[in-house]
């Protein structure tokens, strides 16, 4: 396992070029230690993941060259495809829903001065500071057959709707998804509320003089004004949705059956249960490429156009 380092090394050492400006070579000493750690624990493992994905290896016996076979096998495996489909469902619950809720609620508040904003922000942010494991344990109780969700349903007379939300095939995936919505919507709201306060009040006055209703005002003033915040919220939440591991692992472990599996679950299982490093690495690389592609796509869609009002 020495070759992957070579692929990575090419990027690191600076090569000599004609000095365009006066360069401060000793200043590199300030940067090298950080770069060394980054190379050793991020770049090299990244190269190794790509390298490992081209081999068939159980971690003990000699590895055999597999080429692209791990990738074709993974992409032809119904279980992996199902996990990727679940990831897309999680994108809806973790990213699109919280962003939409955040924008809608922010729109309600752009016309008024909010009292106690500091308190509201602090409270809305609480899900963000809790470990995924804590969140999972809390929601296992929320969804428990005797837990608050069912208690609430029974209280309003919907006894028939009460069920073991995480244990049934039909409800497990959306139930786990809603945990993600809960974790993310406060972040989106705080983000958008902060952004909305930077939108000049004159824009709203102008819109009102033009006779714009709340919807027109939202579409023409608030939404364009929150462009950067929306892009940031989407990058953050979509990434979290695709990476989703802690909450799935600690609520359902991918079950019941395979109804809530995600790629990360197969990475951990392949590496530590079935000892199939090649497949695990191939899924890792696919997941990484997917996340980088989606991040790039969001940034591309939301990039500032030259000449557009800031």
């Amino acid at each position: 396992m020495t070759a992957p380092a070579a692929a990575v090394r090419a990027a690191a050492p600076p090569r000599r070029r004609a000095p365009a400006r006066r360069r401060d070579w000793p200043a590199l000493l300030y940067v090298v230690p950080a770069l060394a750690f980054f190379t050793a624990f991020v770049l090299v493992p990244l190269g190794q993941a790509v390298w490992l994905s081209l081999w068939e290896w159980d971690g003990v016996t000699t590895a055999t060259w597999a080429g692209a076979a791990n990738y074709t096998a993974a992409l032809a495996d119904p279980a992996i495809l199902e996990a990727l489909r679940h990831s897309l469902v999680f994108v809806v619950f973790y990213a699109l829903l919280p962003t939409a809720v955040g924008l809608a609620l922010t729109a309600l508040m752009t016309r008024v001065r909010i009292r106690g904003l500091t308190f509201f922000r602090a409270a809305l942010f609480v899900p963000q500071i809790l470990s995924g494991v804590v969140v999972a344990v809390a929601w296992r109780w929320m969804y428990d057959i005797d837990g608050p969700v069912n208690g609430l349903l029974r209280l309003v007379g919907l006894d028939g709707a009460a069920r073991s939300w995480l244990g049934e095939f039909s409800t497990a995936l959306p139930s786990v998804g809603l945990v993600g919505t809960w974790v993310m919507y406060g972040l989106c709201m705080v983000l958008f509320l902060a952004g909305a306060q930077r939108i000049p009040a004159e824009l709203y006055e102008a819109a009102r003089i033009d006779g714009a209703g709340p919807l027109r005002e939202f579409l023409t003033v608030t939404l364009p004004g929150l462009r950067r915040e929306t892009a940031f919220a989407l990058v953050l939440t979509v990434t979290q949705a695709l990476r989703n591991f802690d909450i799935v692992w600690n609520t359902t472990s991918g079950g019941p059956g395979t109804t809530t599996t995600v790629p990360s679950v197969y990475i951990v299982r392949a590496a530590f249960t079935t000892r199939d490093y090649g497949t695990a690495a191939a899924i890792s690389v696919l997941l990484t490429v997917l996340i980088l592609a989606v991040t790039g796509l969001v940034l591309l869609l939301f990039r500032e156009r030259k000449g557009a009002a800031a």
Binding site: P26, F38, A40, V42, M109, V112, V126, N150, W182, L187
Partner: protein
């Protein structure tokens, strides 16, 4: 009249959003303080009060050593990250570092890269170094994973300072290191503190790395990992005890958050304001 109605509506919506955000946390807390005989009401309000669940979780799940592990790992990662990234961010922002653009470009990869993608090679590496089931298997990768955030964070901060600051020091004959330590660092204290808090939060809450690197060493387990094992062992633990364990694991950060919430929020939001 209309404005008043809008104000009332907005605040009602906000209160509702806050209730939803806090409700699961409150529900788990009220379950944790309830006796098995008198569980919370269907709405999640407590009907009894006991601390027995906490005592049982504390001894049964070894949370004393788990909290110490998490604290130790977190402090080590924060200290190392600051030592590595404050000078790097300073140099990249204020000195003419050769290939600064390339360095920042490479580090940018680390900001967006999901570490789920590299956890297997990291595990093999730690296995080769005989570090699996030790704190180092968490500390070393976490430092590496924090460097890109840290360098970008400090680079952004130092870039925003007025140039005259360093020039004045240079005229006084201060070296680069002296300029960093005496001129820049004092004004960077708030940014450094926020970075430290963020790195500590991420390190404390990490689960996947701990699950992979500490497969069977109960004394080394971090708090979230101990909670995961404790909660997964359903036969051993009553649901109220599991709830108490979750509260124990969340408490240190919640307390930190109560005192430093402004810093937490501004830190986590900063990426949106900057580019």
């Amino acid at each position: 009249m209309r404005a008043r109605r809008e104000t009332a509506l907005s605040h009602t919506v906000l209160v509702l959003a806050v209730v939803v955000a806090l409700y699961p946390a409150m529900a788990i807390l009220s379950l944790a303080v309830s006796t098995p005989a008198a569980r919370p009401t269907p709405m999640g309000l407590p009907r009894s009060f006991t601390l027995a669940n906490f005592a049982e979780a504390w001894t049964g799940g070894r949370f004393d050593s788990a909290l110490l592990s998490s604290g130790f790992v977190g402090v080590c990662v924060v200290a190392a990250t600051l030592l590595l990234t404050v000078p790097a961010g300073y140099a990249l922002a204020r000195l003419r570092v050769p290939f600064a653009g390339v360095v920042l470009g490479v580090l940018l990869l680390g900001v967006v890269l999901p570490y789920e993608g590299i956890v297997i090679p990291l595990y093999r590496q730690m296995l080769d170094w005989d570090l699996v089931n030790t704190w180092w298997a968490l500390i070393l990768p976490q430092i590496g994973l924090s460097t890109s955030l840290g360098v970008f964070w400090m680079h952004t901060f130092f870039s925003g300072l007025p140039g005259a600051l360093g020039e004045a020091a240079a005229i006084d004959g201060a070296s680069r290191a002296q300029t960093l330590l005496r001129v820049y660092l004092p004004s960077a204290a708030p940014a450094v503190a926020t970075l430290a808090l963020l790195v500590f939060l991420y390190t404390w809450n990490d689960f996947l790395l701990a699950l992979v690197m500490i497969p069977d060493a109960p004394g080394v387990q971090t708090a979230p990992l101990a909670l995961s094992f404790f909660a997964g062992n359903r036969q051993a633990a009553d649901i109220g005890v599991t709830a108490a364990a979750a509260v124990i694991v969340a408490l240190p950060l919640v307390v930190l958050y109560l005192f430093l919430q402004r810093r937490f929020i501004s830190g986590l939001l900063a990426g949106a304001v900057k580019e």
